[in-house]
């Protein structure tokens, strides 16, 4: 017969904090965990894109336009990369016999800045000779490595979601909190404003806002502009939901208790009401990141977003809009796979968070 293990006092933890409960419930959802792991991986790669990518994003090699994917292959104990040459008619490449170079790790190559400020030239892999390029996902019309450009593009696509969410949610939460807390005419004015913004079709608003900005901006200015435009559209729906939650939370006794302590209105909103909406906000934020990523893709695809030669998933796809290109060089669609995986991972994680966040209903 089994005997129960005696529980020591230290182990006998009867209740878990909301945070611990949250983790416990999240860990049980395997798909959400998988989504989270994929995202962590993607962000880690985006952060170190310069190192992982074999080439810098604007490394041109016109000898290799539309080069198909070329993987290093195993020869003995070495990975080798063959040299290829274009045939006279069009972009069809054939290998030159007995002309290979071994693939090296931590090889010297294009200069880049690690994390944006540390100058470096070491790459994870490569041949160290640009006549023997490694095109994991092929090359585009200028012979630029699609794989490297996807990595550099991920820096923009992945960060735009986070920054955009941070901006629009911070704004939406404060506005929504104020609207719901003070109610009355303040509420009416703010809500009508939200409805006004939400009633304008987003795409037209984006394009007209884009037109309002001067042409010929630098890529970092364009980046900031995209974030601002997407956040400007996004805050309204957030504000509406937060306003609704605040309307019910403000009637709670702890709000009266805080007022009875002499707490100021703004602090009551920020310290007492908004933290009670966090379980919703975290979920909503995770599920909305894809909209920002797709928003950037749409803008760049339409040619009003990130400009060449900077890489973003959107402007890489706009190179693939020609049907003939698609037919002949399908690897140009690779960025869409990256978008697909990222958006799906965010949705899986968000779904899991939603189930886990409801800690009060045990």
């Amino acid at each position: 017969m089994e005997t129960a293990e005696p529980i020591s006092i230290a182990e006998a933890k009867f209740t878990l904090s909301p945070g611990q409960l949250f983790w416990q419930r999240l860990k049980r959802r395997k798909i959400a965990v998988a989504g989270g792991v994929i995202l962590i991986f993607l962000y880690a790669v985006a952060l170190t894109a310069g190192f992982v990518a074999p080439f810098y994003y604007d490394h041109l090699n016109t000898d290799y336009s539309f080069h198909p994917p070329l993987w290093p292959r195993l020869s003995g104990f070495h990975l080798i990369v063959p040299r290829t040459e274009a045939q006279a008619d069009g972009f069809v490449y054939h290998e030159l016999p007995n002309d290979t170079k071994p693939l090296h790790f931590f090889v010297c190559g294009d200069k880049y800045k690690l994390f944006g400020f540390i100058p470096a030239s070491i790459h994870l892999f490569g041949t160290g000779d640009s006549n023997y390029p490694v095109y994991l996902l092929g090359a585009d019309q200028f012979g630029r490595d699609v794989f490297s450009r996807i990595l550099y593009g991920s820096q923009i696509s992945l960060s735009i979601g986070i920054i955009g969410i941070a901006l629009s949610f911070a704004f939406g939460m404060i506005i929504g909190g104020i609207s719901g807390y003070f109610a009355g005419s303040t509420d009416t004015v703010i809500m009508r404003l939200c409805e006004l913004i939400m009633s304008i079709p987003a795409l037209y608003l984006i394009i007209s806002l884009r037109a309002a900005f001067p042409p010929g901006m630098s890529s970092s200015e364009i980046y900031a502009m995209i974030v601002v435009i997407l956040s400007f559209i996004g805050w309204a729906s957030m504000a509406r939901v937060i306003r609704g939650m605040t309307l019910s939370l403000r009637e709670q006794q702890f709000v009266l208790a805080a007022r009875a302590l002499g707490q100021s209105h703004l602090k009551i909103i920020c310290r007492h009401i908004l933290p009670n909406t966090f379980s919703y906000v975290i979920v909503a934020a995770t599920l909305s990141v894809p909209y920002y990523i797709l928003g950037e893709v749409v803008l760049s695809f339409l040619g009003v977003g990130i400009q060449e030669p900077q890489a973003s998933w959107g402007n890489m796809l706009s190179a693939a809009e020609d049907v003939q290109y698609l037919q002949n060089y399908p690897w140009l669609l690779a960025p869409s796979a990256a978008i697909f995986v990222t958006v799906l991972a965010f949705n899986f994680l968000g779904d899991g968070l939603r189930d886990a966040a409801d800690t009060k209903s045990l």
Binding site: T15, S17, P18, F254, L256, A260, L261, G262, Q263, P275
Partner: protein
């Protein structure tokens, strides 16, 4: 001078034609260190009267149309909001009915007490002070309890935390709005014992709102009985319990179940408190009063001092 003087306070909900009188001509004083009980059925204006002391009833819908509230010599109703925030929690603190709802569910209790300290005693906003306060209100192992969330505590513990929060700033007046209604009877006794003891130790005044006359006898120095927005009887506790003068007070006391004797059916006051805005003409208790006379529903009776310190709002207090 008294710590709190409410003089002829009149408050409406709504304005002009839609105005509903919630507090009608309420006068009440509390001296320093005194315990006053405010007694009455649900919906008779006890809580709004108590919240008015720190102007906590939102305006609108509330609308103060007359009278004044002097707390510590300052006129609360005319005070600018900024100053009022120092009064709230600083001079007058509140303990509410449901401790579970009055604590913010997403913060550790230690931080909530610290918030109170930060507002009124920023120099003392330390863990040591929080632990001292928790010890003061009789929470065992306060060092580990400060890291608890409210839902990890029992109702009695939560109420002790609320009391610790209220005491953090060493207020002159503690308003306890039915502090024990949501607790079971043994915990109720403990909390009341605690309030009593803290009052002796810290010398603050207490305004205790209750509808439990048993509590009144234990705690109060003086009792004010409210009915339909008016004070109907105000008296020192011993006199009031020995010999209630107003028919409503008598009816309230008759409806307390008695343990001894061959108890018959528990007597209840027939009917309900009239809804606000729907008060009968004349004496508001007349429709439920067993001794009502025809003239009762003609003229609103005045609150008159019939003995030193005893006020009654019934012209027939002698005969009834």
């Amino acid at each position: 001078m008294n710590l709190l003087e409410i003089k002829n306070l009149k408050m409406d909900f709504g304005k002009n034609a839609e105005a509903l009188r919630a507090i009608d001509d309420v006068s009440l004083t509390i001296g320093a260190g005194e315990t006053v009980c405010l007694v009455g059925e649900s919906g008779c204006g006890k809580t709004v009267t108590a919240l008015s002391i720190a102007r906590l009833v939102p305006t609108p819908p509330a609308n103060y149309v007359g009278g004044e509230i002097l707390l510590n010599g300052q006129d609360i109703l005319k005070m600018p909001n900024g100053e009022l925030r120092n009064i709230r929690g600083g001079v007058v603190s509140y303990v509410f009915q449901e401790p579970g709802a009055a604590l913010n569910p997403v913060f550790r209790v230690g931080n909530q007490i610290k918030e109170s300290l930060k507002l009124h005693k920023p120099e003392k906003a330390t863990n040591e002070e929080v632990i001292r306060l928790l010890k003061l209100v009789g929470i065992p192992a306060p060092e580990s309890r400060i890291r608890n969330y409210p839902f990890e505590m029992s109702g009695g513990m939560q109420q002790r935390v609320m009391i610790a929060m209220a005491l953090a700033s060493e207020p002159k007046l503690l308003v306890a709005d039915e502090p024990t209604t949501a607790l079971d009877v043994t915990i109720q006794a403990q909390i009341l014992e605690l309030l009593h003891e803290l009052k002796q130790r810290l010398g603050m005044a207490i305004l205790l709102i209750t509808h439990n006359l048993g509590i009144v006898g234990d705690m109060a120095d003086r009792v004010a009985v409210m009915y339909a927005g008016q004070i109907v009887e105000l008296a020192p506790v011993k006199e009031l319990l020995r010999q209630p003068l107003h028919p409503y007070t008598k009816a309230l006391m008759a409806s307390v179940p008695k343990l001894r004797g061959d108890a018959d059916r528990l007597s209840a006051i027939p009917g309900n408190v009239p809804r606000i805005g729907n008060f009968p003409a004349g004496c508001r208790f007349a429709p439920r009063c067993p001794m009502a006379k025809p003239e009762c529903s003609e003229k609103v009776p005045e609150l008159v001092e019939v003995e030193a310190g005893r006020w009654v709002r019934c012209p027939f207090w002698k005969t009834s």
